[in-house]
Subunit: 249 residues, 2 copies
């Protein structure tokens, strides 16, 4: 099952995935445009990917991803997103450079490095001491707040986390439901109620107490809610979100 695809073939998978996402359908011409190659090149790439059972493809028809292909695409997209997150939110790289570098580096990054980077980004975003920002004039600077706060240790953070834990299924003060956050908001997971069907998905992805959750977007009716956790993008029903308790940062 371990398809070792070349960077270029990964790009085709990724492009198809994005097209399906945005336009519902992936046409040869669209793929060719995005990848800046001719349609002839796309056709032969599609044949190869089809042979590897990553896409459903037959001549003159539109393309779709097989479950294996979709799975792979999601991995690739996650690598891209994590790198982009780091470049944008930690290094403050300009948007064009963010995309450009993420596109090239996403094919080279190792699993362990990726997970460590996820942890690092999360830590920098969550830890109240890591108030580090970049600006054109001074480069990186820390804690430019008007009232200098005292430097607290991680122990303090985890203690405060422990105090807000659920006990026998009851959640405590200071935590709110994920559904109460608005788009763009973020918080740290305090507890995930296990009766929630979304919880299983989250567990499988290594999303646990202490993880950073960011709300990406909320659909017009407040359902579903698109969130980002550990570099994964998830879409939760409002009912599911109610069972995820977070502490606002």
């Amino acid at each position: 099952m371990d398809h070792v695809l070349s960077p270029i073939m990964e790009d085709y998978i990724e492009t198809i995935f994005e097209l399906l996402r945005r336009e519902q359908v992936a046409r040869v011409s669209d793929i060719a445009t995005r990848m800046k190659v001719t349609m002839a090149t796309v056709t032969s790439a599609l044949r190869k990917l089809s042979a590897k059972k990553l896409i459903n493809y037959s001549p003159y028809s539109t393309v779709s991803l097989t479950p294996a292909g979709k799975n792979l695409a999601e991995k690739i997209v996650r690598r891209h997103e994590v790198l982009a997150d780091f470049f944008q939110n930690v290094l403050s790289l300009p948007p064009s450079k963010v995309a450009e570098n993420a596109c090239r580096m996403e094919h080279q990054i190792d699993d362990l490095l990726l997970e460590r980077l996820v942890e690092y980004i999360e830590f920098v975003k969550l830890c109240p001491n890591m108030n580090i920002k970049w600006n054109e004039k001074n480069g990186f600077r820390c804690g430019q707040d008007e009232n200098p706060k005292k430097f607290i240790s991680c122990e303090d953070c985890s203690k405060s986390l422990a105090r807000n834990t659920t006990h026998g299924g009851q959640q405590m003060n200071d935590s709110i439901g994920l559904h109460e956050l608005k788009a763009g908001g973020r918080g740290r997971i305090i507890a995930v109620s296990l009766k929630n069907p979304g919880a299983k998905r989250m567990m499988e992805m290594g999303i646990v107490r202490g993880s950073l959750v960011e709300v990406e977007r909320i659909a017009p009716l407040g359902d579903p809610i698109d969130i980002k956790v550990k570099g994964y993008h998830l879409s939760l029903r409002k009912e599911e979100a109610k069972n995820i308790f977070i502490e606002i940062m």
Copy 2:
């Protein structure tokens, strides 16, 4: 002058550079061994690199780098080192993964990203508030010191830096000469005396007051001193090092 080499050709240049550094001479067989290809492959790569005037090469003789080739090699090595530094010292990746990822990603990283990363690494290493460490059990943690220090702002750092500046060629208290550091030590540049010939080189590389200097190695007789600044490796004479004033971190 802007040779756009493929990642593979960059690897050949890098390998040749490393071989020349370590063994004084780069043989086809050695290059083949390091790159895990046959000698036939090396020969054709050498012809291509020679055509681009990056190496001096004629059949049956050993290989050397032209000035352009050496220049390029140094760029590539720097990209590698900066990435490795980040993976090792910021993300605490195990050594094997550090090398592996740096080797692949060094060909993909953009100039702006590289410089920003250099700045970031330097900031994390220098800023007294950024006491962030990784361990197997807890992941990233901050400030585990016994006596929690108060969180100071960058302003304080820069003020303390300003106070120690040279005035009319005279250096002030709290700064020592770079030559006084021992191997492995590091500090922040307070001032570089301009009469120092090494200073010109440093200026050209964007190495200024506030930069982090790390002493890599000191030769048996205390001369030369190998240092790392902004991801560059430099070899300074002891006399040159005396003209660089630093504040120990």
